[in-house]
Structure formats: structure tokens, C-alpha cells
Symmetry: C2
Subunit: 297 residues, 2 copies
């Protein structure tokens, strides 16, 4: 096993274990939303976002344990957005990560509440960190505020809005890029920046991390579109061709598969260029950029 794969798996295991620990037992007998929340974040996600937070924190000389609640908060936000995205009134997807979507497993009402619960838990998890932590309070506050902004109506939720508003319309490359920079890019940006912020890095490094994030975020999405067009359901764990079926504009529908792959490659190179400021130790993030653009699921 390569060093990259090993480190990747170690991070994933740490994140999976921690996510479960941050979800306290419910304070009363009715456990169904608690179970739906646990279901939503234990399903074999790649944990790319929290992993970025931990690695950027380490790379900037910070302590991974300090970044962990923030990393997990970001993953909770990601998971809640998937639960709400899959609801019938949104994308109406019955499959997620190869398993029934949360609302299929628990019903719509509980899935809605589980999403709300995960979003709230994300902030609870970060705010708990203010007490007796090695992180400077102003850095913790800045990190939590960064996540609130990137997850909110000017960030991720804004991207979902543009997505819905664009359905059935002919949109151009600019709108498509705006949508994805908000819908997936915002949270990936938050993940990278927050890692640096927790470690107390300077603004120059935070800006480089943000540009790295924007480039891998877009490359990630382009690869997603390509996989949706040419992949198979088994590998993806979700219904393939769902974009085309919904008549959605994608990078593939605008540029074709070949040009899309070229774009993803170009963005990946740009992302890797941004790592220079972090020194030679940034090899893992370099390989991660490649992995994300060349993945097959």
C-alpha cells in the first residue's frame, strides 16, 4: 500500500470514529432522529473535507487533535446537505453511497429533522471547543464563522439555489461554474482554510489554501459529471445518468467528455502549484489533488 493510501485510510478511520463520538446519546427514549443522524454520517463517505482540514492544520504546524472537532463539523454540514438534497422536493434520490437515502430508510419527516440536527450539531461541536482548548479563542471563532458563511445562503445553500433555479434552463459555463463554486467549492474552501486558521497560519497561507481548494473543488465536480455520464451505478453507489435524465446542464453537456477531462487536469495542476508555500511536506495534498481528478467513483 502506498504512503498516500495509508495516510488517507488513517485519516478516514480517525474521522469516522470521531464523528460517532461527537453525537451524544439522546436525552430521552425516542431515538429515531438520533439514529437517522448516525445513519447519515456513517455510510462510507470519502471524508475529503475533514481530511483536508486535518492535513492543512498539520502542514501549518498545528495539532491534528485541535482541528478534529472543526473537521467533523464540516463533515456534518456536508452530510446534512446530502440528506436534504436527496429529499423528494429536491433531487428525489433514493440511493446514496450505495444505500437507501436517509428519507427512504427513515421517512421524510425524520430525514428532514436529522438534517437539521446534523447542521445544529456541527455548531455545537465547534462551540464546545472554546472551553479548555489549546486553540486560541479568536482562531476558533474565526474558523466557526468561516464555516457558517461558506455553508450559508451566500455559500453552499446559495449554490443549491442556483442549481434548482437552473433546472430545465439552458445555462452557460459561467453560471455552471458559479453554481459549483458555491455548491461544493464553498465547503471545500472552508475545510482547507479552517485547517490553516486552527494552526494559526498567516493570511498568505490561508489564501493559498483557498485557491488550492477552489481548483480541486471544480476539478472534483467536473470529474463527478464525467463519472455520471460514463460511470456505472455499482461503482458510484448512486443512480448513473441521473443528470442527463433530469436534463441538467453539466460540464460534459457543455464541453464533452474529453475537454472536461482536460479542464480537470488543468485545474489539478493549478491546485498543486498553490502548495509551494507549504514546502516539501505537502506531498500528500499533491497526491490528493491527483486522486480526486482521476478517481473512478
Amino acid at each position: 500500500m502506498s504512503n498516500f493510501k495509508q495516510k488517507f485510510d488513517e485519516y478516514r478511520q480517525l474521522i469516522d470514529k470521531s464523528l460517532r463520538n461527537y453525537l451524544d446519546e439522546p436525552c430521552f427514549d425516542e431515538k429515531i432522529v438520533y439514529e437517522a443522524m448516525a445513519y447519515a454520517f456513517t455510510g462510507g463517505g470519502k471524508r475529503i473535507r475533514p481530511l483536508l482540514t486535518l492535513e492543512f492544520c498539520r502542514l501549518c504546524g498545528g495539532n491534528i487533535a485541535d482541528a478534529l472537532p472543526f473537521a467533523c463539523a464540516i463533515e456534518m454540514i456536508h452530510c446534512y446537505s446530502l440528506v436534504h438534497d436527496d429529499l423528494p422536493c429536491m433531487d428525489d434520490d433514493v440511493l446514496r453511497r450505495g444505500k437507501p437515502s436517509c428519507h427512504i430508510a427513515y421517512g421524510e419527516a425524520y430525514a428532514l429533522l436529522a438534517g437539521d440536527g446534523l447542521l445544529t450539531l456541527a455548531f455545537e461541536t465547534m462551540l464546545k471547543k472554546y472551553d479548555g482548548s489549546a486553540v486560541l479563542p479568536q482562531n476558533a471563532a474565526r474558523a466557526a464563522l468561516e464555516l457558517a458563511k461558506q455553508a450559508g445562503h451566500c455559500g453552499m445553500i446559495g449554490g443549491q439555489t442556483v442549481d434548482i433555479a437552473s433546472e430545465g434552463k439552458d445555462i452557460g459555463l459561467d453560471t455552471l461554474k458559479l453554481m459549483h463554486s458555491l455548491k461544493t467549492g464553498a465547503l471545500i474552501s472552508a475545510a482547507c482554510k479552517i485547517g490553516c486558521i486552527i494552526a494559526g497560519a498567516d493570511d498568505k497561507k490561508i489564501s493559498s489554501a483557498e485557491r488550492y481548494a477552489k481548483n480541486i473543488g471544480l476539478a472534483f465536480q467536473i470529474t463527478d459529471d464525467v463519472l455520471d455520464a460514463i460511470g456505472n451505478t455499482e461503482q458510484l453507489g448512486k443512480t448513473v445518468g441521473s443528470d442527463e435524465n433530469k436534463n441538467k446542464t453539466t460540464f460534459v453537456s457543455l464541453l464533452g467528455v474529453e475537454k472536461s477531462l482536460e479542464q480537470a487536469d488543468k485545474l489539478t495542476q493549478k491546485a498543486k502549484g498553490e502548495l509551494e508555500i507549504f514546502g516539501e511536506d505537502s506531498e500528500f495534498l499533491c497526491e490528493l489533488a491527483d486522486y480526486l481528478a482521476k478517481r473512478d467513483k
Copy 2:
């Protein structure tokens, strides 16, 4: 106009104006979720929760301006919960505060996102407060954490879970009280406690505020049930008799109207007793307790 009514209206106006100010313009052209968010919190709500925060802060010697972002964050959480509660997969209510519910006005997908957006905005609004504020950072962090807990799966969301799980079942008074103590009580508790915390009050005062909250919260809910049973649609701004139509257990269905009113009165007296520690200046909160139990809408 009585002093009480005047002060009540002044608070409401301050809160209405501030809520609008905390919602930044969207950073891109697609404004529909932004508009749905604004719609959800500008509809003539009573603003009881934020008003409690401001008044408890004042009563504990704090500055109302310092408590304002926290007060508004609580109202945002309340408003998001109403938007999600009204959705077809939850209570399926088409009317809220005399106007079409958010999903009737904007469609289900945007209403879902508007709720998510308000929940996120609540934390953004509080977290912004860490910079350049007169509030001690540890008090601001404690206040924000309190709201996250009371709004989460062990608080308000837990109450909604119990509510859904109880539908169509015969539940007893204990479960009904648990449900309401979580569903409405948790956020009212947060509102009262946070006002004290921001002002830097001691734990004794914070505990008294919490007990005041629990008592008025339950009285408020009992009055709600009574109004639903005997009120009229015009006064309430929502469909009357909706509890009975849904075969829901209420205080009225368990105790009858007269005993319910007695209970509400008893709880109100208990609430008023908790105000002693705050001195003579607590007259407004005393009248507020009466107002909530004796309101006709």
C-alpha cells in the same frame, strides 16, 4: 397605552429592524432563497423569545445592544423551525401568521433551503459578535453553545421527533409535557438564559431565569392548545381545530378546557415567583407571563 404594551412594542420594533439588518444581501443574482428567508421572519411574529433575551440581559445589568445578535439568532432558529414544521412531510400547514406558509409562497425546495439558511445564519450572526464586542468571549461562546444545545436533537428537534412519533398514538400527560418542554420550552429556556449569560449574571440568576422559562413555556403551550380548541381562524392566523382534526393529544384533550386554564394559571404564578431574585425591576417579565397565558391569539 400601558407601559407594558409600549415596552413590548419598542422591543418588537427593534427586533424586526435588526433581523432585517443581519440578513446580508446575497452575493449573486439568484435572490429567491434570500427572499424566502426574509419572508419567513418578517410576518408579524410576537418575537417573544428575542424579547426575553433582551429583557433578561437588561435586568442583569447588561447592555441590550450586546444581546441583540443573540436575541435575533434565537428568533431565526424559531422561524426556521416554523418553515420546516409547515412543510408537507411535517405538519403540512398552508397558513402561518395569517399568510401563506413559506413553501406555499416559494415552493417546497426553496422553503427547505430557506429554513437551512436561517439556521445557519443564526450561528453566523452570533459568531460575528466575537470580534470587537463588549461581551466577554467566554460568555459569547457559552451563549452560542447554549443555543446550539437547546435547538438540537436533544432539545427542540428532539421535541419535534417526539411529536411526530406520538401522532395517532394515545400519549399520557408526561409524554405531552416532555414533548412541549423540548419543542417550545428548550428555545424559550435558551432565550432567557442567554440574556443572563451575555450580561455576565451569576449561575443563581441563570437558574431562576431557566425555571421562569420552563413555566411560561408550558403555560404558553397550554394556552395554545386551548386557543386551538376554542379560538377562531381569524384571530390565530392559522387553521383552527387543526390539532383535533389530526387526532393529536393536547392538554385540552387530556384535561379539558377548564383544567387546562387552571394549569396555565398555576404555572404563570410559579414563573412570576422566580423573578424575585431580579428585584422590583422585573415588572415587565411579570406582566409578560400574564400576557402569554391570557392572550387570545
